[in-house]
Amino acid sequence: MSALGALARLEAVAAGRAVPVATVRHCHLSERPLVIVPLRLAGEAVAPLAAMVGTDPERPRLLFVPQPRNRDLRFRFAAELAEVVLGRIEECRTAVEELPPAKDGTERVRYGEAPQIIVPNQAGVGFLRMLGRSTRFRRTDGPYPVDPAVPMLGRWLTWFADRYERPGAALLLAMTETLRLHWASGQSSLEDGNLAALLGWIDPPEGLTGPQAAALAEDPVASPPAGPATDPSFDNEVLAPAIAGYDEAADETGLSHAKERLRTVLSSQLVPTWELMWRAIGLLRALPEGANVAARHDRDRDSFTWYAETFEEGFPQARRDDAVNAARRLHDLERAQESYDAQRAFDDPLVMAEYRLTGEAFGGVVTECLPTRLDETGKKPKLRPWLRVRTGDPVRLEPGRAVCSAARPGLKGRIVEVAAGEVLVELTGGMGRKLTPEPGSVPEVGDRVCFTSLGTDSARGRPNFPEREQTPWTHGGPPAEYVPTDEDAQEAWS
């Protein structure tokens, strides 16, 4: 944990309520997020029990499996969930934004919206990932056919879960993680995984302190778990008899009674979390959006557009990444992490403060400025203004290190020397193309500035990866071509 993170937690303990650790919202929030609160049958890896879904807090839709051990009923549930998820995806494809054509002249478009799914916690993300995996290889013909929407749901859920791994992407959010990005509570990270307790710290009900509200959240009767795992007493005392009632129902009336009973008891478990989810969305919505959030949302929309457009011709995502794809993906994730870290710090002085504490950034006042200094050692003179910045931060950047300005990352520079409370920076870019800087591009004496090495490391251009067919001998050679078969849906251990 960073020093500031620890401090914020201590302050939260002292104050009895959560402390903000961000001044802006660092994730995109859709106008109509699709909230999914899933429940799983205890003891099964991915047997859906119920889910409360919808984009409107007033009109949740409860989907449930009356007998979760029955595979046909499970896939019926998947088809119902597919209707909701695919419906929302289609809605997002209605508005299209035209983009300037690509270099090779092909037209580019971007859907006006990207679907956003929000689940209560990380386990919820894991559940959607597993549900995607267990449905995307299902066949719609042959021995055990399923509704055509089921494998489509599987592919989309897998895509959402893959996208979740990407730092800065906001297509699938786990509410507890998102809240933790913006507030620090006075409890442990493990306890923060409980949505009700975390919200108790952030926004305690009238007359209660954060710890008191969090303590209430520990009672599974007053505040049922946010899933996908259910409360064991509920399982034994309420759910099991209700499912038995369904199994034993003798006729249509009996069945519909049993289903109604299940609906009521499952609803009692889901509604409290459903309400918490929308309360949390309200809290997040009240924060102003960070400056770079829109740019990251554009990447999400690009990804969505590309996947939706190529959906028809594609196969389900492979069960495992092959060597080349794994390396590529890791590379992409690392680049995304780097730019996400940098963007958050640029957007938010509270986040930047962490880097100033660790010496990767420094802030201060310009005490000396040579805005028109030229470097004439090369063939052509180059504009290289010097700035001397007085700072109280513990600077840990070595001479020669590339830095950029937090206020305007386009303004690049290089550390020349660091000495007792003063840093000399040579500006190298972002001042126009002439030998005198564009007006306003170079900070003046007395200006407050903040420079950081964040976001200056990224290698330019796309790196070379071999083609899949040219996977080298060190990595087992080229993998076999994928041919869909009926066995695809089987798990290795089943």
Binding site: E165, A326, G359, N464, W473, H475, G476
Partner: protein, 434 residues
């Protein structure tokens, strides 16, 4: 039969060179700390280039590339040596001393050169070109995705590295590849051997750096199944001081280290922040005191003073390094202070180490990583002084490794927890209480 380290090491090197000629696609050489890895790389380069093969050498950092250039150009001036570098590269003094070495940014400019050397990152930018042979140095520190990117450039390769040092890492945490034989987060050698189990693996058997007092300790703790021995006998190396100690704990710790090769300066148990000011002061004071007392090192290389350039101070975190540098101040000018990551591959007479677990409340995977302690405990030719707060064994007992276990992931040896215990148990015999 007596153990002749020179002959033993020579036999392994000969076997490696013979394997290079035997038509294997790859040859792996594991090298414990200070076992002559760079010497082997230079010899193998000369051997292959001498046989008329064009050769590429892959190192991990610019520093390592420059080191190798210096060694090869000095030892084998007849080889046409080229260095591939990025656009802004300014040759270091070591490279500039060899005007025959050609520096270029494009591989095409080095077509005539029989040996071309560059960092892995530079090699990975090449989209074409092929060399019959490659030597990959520090191959255990290279991630397998890097190997994937540059494996198309060579037909056969010699991989050399130290399996006990720090594993490569990533800035993102991803579990989706755990258990895959081509997991991009694993080291290049582990992926190579997973797909090509028939490749010959050699081990250099002798550490020329570590003294007789350290080799068995490090070997047992960090290389439990692939042991090595010291190249020198117990009496071959001696460390003495020109000035006598004054009986302070610092002086007693230094005397203990000079006499036995190890010392633990133990501070009272306390939970502290990472930059524990007391421990930092003690560590810096030891280094300064070592300079003041004018250490003299006697070894098979002769007698030399232990000046600042022969001393290193090591720590786990960068903020600790900053604090240590500040605490050393002008009195410790010239002493190397760095993190374990950056001390990899370097050698000193005496090292002063701030124990990674000193003053901590928890033992995370980062702090338990055996490679980190291994690097810190195996940089010295004469003595290693460790500074730590009391209570680390109890801390370890309270934090057994609890990493998730994945199917098909090879179990890593040594276990960091156990290695830490082993080193502490040994240090306990050389304890001086502050």
């Amino acid at each position: 039969m007596t153990f002749d380290p020179g002959a033993e090491a020579g036999r392994v090197v000969d076997a490696v060179l013979a394997d290079l000629a035997a038509g294997h696609r790859g040859v792996v050489v594991d090298s414990p700390p200070g076992a002559g890895k760079s010497t082997l790389v230079v010899r193998a380069a000369a051997h292959l280039a001498g046989a008329g093969e064009r050769l590429m050498i892959v190192a991990q950092t610019n520093e390592q590339v420059d080191d190798l250039i210096d060694r090869i150009a000095t030892g084998h001036p007849e080889l046409a040596l080229g260095r591939l570098s990025a656009a802004g590269y300014a040759p270091s003094a070591r490279v500039a001393a060899h005007p025959a070495v050609r520096i270029a940014q494009k591989a095409a400019d080095l077509d005539e050169h029989s040996v071309v050397i560059a960092t892995a990152a530079k090699w990975a930018t090449l989209a074409e070109g092929s060399w019959p042979w490659a030597i990959v140095d520090e191959a255990y520190q290279m991630r397998s995705d890097m190997l994937l990117r540059l494996a198309g450039r060579f037909e056969r390769a010699l991989f050399v590295g130290d399996p006990g040092q720090l594993d490569p890492f990533s800035t993102v945490e991803v579990e989706r590849w755990a258990g895959l034989s081509w997991d991009p987060l694993r080291s290049a050698v582990s992926v190579l051997l997973a797909h090509n189990p028939e490749l010959p693996v050699h081990r250099l058997p002798v550490s020329w750096r570590l003294p007789a007092s350290a080799a068995p300790v490090v070997s047992e703790a960090f290389y439990p199944f692939t042991g090595f021995r010291a190249g020198t006998a117990p009496g071959d190396r001696r460390l003495e001081f020109s000035a006598r100690g004054m009986g302070t704990p610092h002086d007693r710790a230094l005397d203990e280290a000079a006499a036995t090769g190890w010392a633990l300066l133990e501070l009272p148990a306390r939970h502290t922040v990472r930059t524990d000011s007391e421990a930092v002061r003690a560590t810096a004071a030891l280094a300064v005191r070592l300079l003041q007392r004018g250490g003299v090192a006697h070894s098979e290389r002769g007698t030399a003073p232990v000046d600042a350039a022969r001393i290193a101070v090591g720590a786990a975190h960068r903020d600790q390094v900053t604090a240590l540098r500040a605490a050393l101040g002008p009195a410790g000018a010239g002493v190397t202070v760095d993190t374990a990551n950056r001390l990899q591959g370097r050698e000193y007479d005496v090292t002063v180490v701030l124990h990674p677990l000193s003053g901590r409340r928890d033992a995370t995977a980062f702090h338990l990583e055996s490679g980190r302690l291994c690097v810190l405990a195996s940089r010295h030719r004469h003595a290693c002084v460790v500074v730590a707060r009391a209570g680390i064994p109890e801390l370890l007992d309270a934090h057994p490794s609890a990493e998730p276990v994945h199917l098909n992931v090879p179990v890593r040896f040594p276990d960091g927890w156990e290695a830490n215990q082993a080193i502490l148990a040994h240090l306990a015999e050389h304890r001086v209480r502050a």
